[in-house]
Symmetry: D2
């Protein structure tokens, strides 16, 4: 299919989104994020031929939040390989993103690396015995190299805001510790995690960073094809919290959402896509962003489940 009409379609979709009556509500548990104007929408794509497209607020930086879990996972798999899976599972959770229930049921081994408990274990593993700044530096290096853009930074105010309201995550960390599934002090892991979540990127930067997962031609080879495929599989089954099955059904592409309103989508071999709109649905995924992702997938026919 020719993608000649895609730029125009993106503009059209952004315009339609801007007319949305219901934008959802920005995450309110992190004060810095609650301040964001919900009536914003952006999108950017990187195609296999090197074309980059953008529409709406494609160049406005936002807090990537849980999308950072993809990058910390990629980094830690690079360091530890499959050893990580002794500490974290690979199954959808069937519960909310910050639930502690299944953690109890499964003796402190989080179901997957994209629920908070699993992401905290991932960050703990990335820390190893190192200082937080070393682990963060490794993530930042990976993200910048993948995006081929050094102008990507951590928003310290957001990190501090998250640390100050981190009771639930601290509970998860102590719970993991009680099951001997935490190597570093809870506060240290929490601080590292809060900073990693506070990475700011634009849709354009995020789409570029996602090219390594889409395995687009001519892109810096940050991770092996097998690893990229497996991360995509995890994004497909676990990337949208308890809305993952529905997202796979409606959109048909691996994706990872963040409570900052961003979603990174991967069409392997074809495109890397970033959408952003700060208002969230009941599962904690961007409401307008999910709609936009579905419409782009519908227009282009991109679906890993299609021929």
């Amino acid at each position: 299919m020719s993608m000649d009409g895609l730029p125009k379609e993106l503009e059209r979709l952004v315009a339609e989104a801007r007319g949305a009556g219901d934008w959802g509500r920005p995450a309110d548990y992190i004060p810095e994020l609650a301040k964001v104007d919900p009536a914003q929408v952006g999108v950017a794509l990187c195609l296999a031929d090197g074309t980059e497209l953008g529409a709406g607020e494609a160049d406005r930086p936002f807090s990537i939040q849980s999308i950072s879990k993809v990058f910390s996972l990629a980094a830690v798999l690079g360091r530890l390989g499959d050893d990580l899976w002794r500490r974290v599972g690979r199954e959808p959770s069937g519960t909310a993103f910050d639930s502690i229930f299944l953690l109890e049921h499964e003796n402190g081994r989080p179901r997957n690396p994209f629920i908070n408990a699993g992401a905290l274990v991932t960050t703990d593993a990335l820390l190893g015995g190192r200082e937080p700044r070393q682990a963060l530096s490794e993530i930042m290096h990976l993200v910048r190299a993948a995006a081929e853009d050094d102008d990507i930074h951590i928003d310290k105010a957001v990190a501090e805001s998250e640390k100050a309201t981190a009771s639930r995550n601290m509970a998860l960390l102590y719970y993991l510790q009680s099951h001997d599934n935490l190597l570093n002090p809870p506060e240290m892991v929490m601080g590292t995690y809060a900073h990693q979540c506070a990475i700011e990127m634009t849709c354009r930067q995020l789409a570029r960073a996602g090219r390594m997962l889409a395995m687009l031609p001519g892109v810096p080879a940050m991770i092996s094809p097998l690893r990229a495929r497996r991360i995509n599989a995890l994004m497909m089954t676990c990337g949208q919290y308890d809305g993952s099955g529905n997202f796979a059904f409606r959109v048909g592409l691996p994706g990872k959402s963040g409570v900052g309103g961003g979603i990174l989508l991967v069409a392997p071999g074809v495109a890397s896509i970033a959408v952003w709109s700060p208002g969230l649905d009941g599962y904690g995924n961007s409401q307008v962003g999910t709609w936009l992702a579905e419409r782009i997938a519908g227009y282009t026919g991109w679906s890993v489940f299609a021929p």
Copy 2:
């Protein structure tokens, strides 16, 4: 990639599988299935160019059991369209295939159509106000037409055996009824479901029936491409019970398993694959079959998450 070496590789994999020390254990809760010799393995593929391959016990009929959920789902979506989703969700369950826990938590709306509770609702919806034989005839028609083979039958002894040991499913049915999510009498739905699960197919027949989901060229168009894609998405996120995430991670293809030991796999646009070996792993999925699926995906490079 040329598939010239594939026939030989299939023979090699089957030979390697036959040397397996641990075949897993056949389902023991259905007496008729418990009798099956576990030391069997079969595989069949249909490729996009019309080639059909087979190795091992590719022509030995087995009880497809839960794989029938794919066909009843396809049939009922054809009758009801998206109305079904008012009664069943599309999310992985995070629990065992016959768990009643989440059913309680979610007020009688099963998480997805592939856990038992959801499949029972699907069969109930397919029944509508009709007689069991009419619903069964509709499923059989779909399966036979998709496989282009009329020699596919229901094993009555297996159906009776399943009905006689159906306490857990009867509990689910009455529970659904108590939540007004059952239209027909529990016994009627149970009887229909037991018969649908007792369909016998060979790997070759199953691979042929799966072509409609793989959307291979020149195959009878039983369902629309959008519907096929969506069923594939459900197979990816929910097809292997509480082992679905791991299956997606390791195999990278949508699949649906049955406690008879069969697995149907879909490589959209490329191939339809059926593997069979009666011994099960701890999740209720074929142990050697899962291994075989992973090896075939590894050899061919087929993965929906690859370029």
Copy 3:
């Protein structure tokens, strides 16, 4: 303490109850019970000196429902002794009366004989290999002998109404069967249970039947003192479903409620008390009945936790 003022106080409390703004709502899942006028209240007491007191609708028959679990438990302990406890636990459930969750968690052994699952096992044990009418006859004999009143009957219309809306209990029964914790066919146990629940008694009859648990002097010795004490203990910890702790805290006496609006209370050695008002609170216990029980306990100072 002299109880001379008690008759007058009962009249006063009934009058105050009649002015209640909120009577709660009668059980609506059994159609026959839903018809009952909620604006009714009755109370009866049997004291250690043989005095019997009554106020309000003390002589109006009502459906004792789950209060019958006390009598079937007494009967089955008489038949089986402590063997019953291999099939049923003695712990409060921490969940609603008809929950299936903990049943799954504990492999089909109900937490106690007063949640529905446990009462169904109790009735199943009472049946042994006998006909329903034999088991029912045993319960009726016990109740009539304890109350020294043969004019106690089963309301067949209520029994049929309950059987017709028994999906949840049927689910529990099949679930118990799937765990090999049911000896008789689910339908047979359900029928027996529905009839046992449909016993009709007046407050006066119920208070008289309760004298065996209060171990009042000169009362027919239906059960041993040790057994009476233990049944009282179960009533204290499990008798009001998920409101048992609060009832113990507020009232301080063992009690067993039924969704017909009755509550049987036991002040060991001192009094047997029956209250009735059909409207229920959120736990399924009589709203005005609970209030009345608390006020009577407050006035008399009867509490097993007092000197």
Copy 4:
């Protein structure tokens, strides 16, 4: 009943207990407690006539651990009255003592003040805005005054040992904080709680302190009769964690256990009893202590459920 034979019976029971083959295992999650020799048993009673009895290691101090929850509850009810119940429930939990599951299910309101989460809220409420030493001083004052013995102290080594292994409790505290059900910093509450649990008492001291709950004549009136009754009710329904129902069934007296192996029992108006033996059963209650409690209740006939 004459209690003349009781002293001899206590000696006999202690001798029989000393011959026990299986003492259970001391709590191993607090290193200081794990060191205790399990083959010890002590008992002390205070009777209504002022008699004090003891046998075995009645004068050996042990760590009262969770029994302190009774004293902190009494103290905080004295300060706050029924306001506490807005933050804590009064229902048995149906789960293990340190479970986090129901806390999630009930939005951060612990089921009762005797599971860890509820006891932490109780200590938090006792702190108010004060320093830990002020709250601890209040508890110590209450315990010493109730026992009429100033020689009761906190074992600092045990407190430090508990703080050092407090991951699970820290998880509960942060979880409570995330539900706005914690007023003070988690570390401060944890420190206070660890010290309160580390109070050391002998059986004799504990039995004396329990006289206020038994409301024995001539005992210092630390709390009102209504409050004593209500605390007894909570001990009855929730005092032995998930073994409370069974304890009520077997022993018939309100009791509160601690993982140090002590149990405080209350026979209202009749006696206050303390038993101690460090080995625990599967619920975390003293194994030999529970046996001893049951035998004493059996010998004396003391049961709140008896006439």
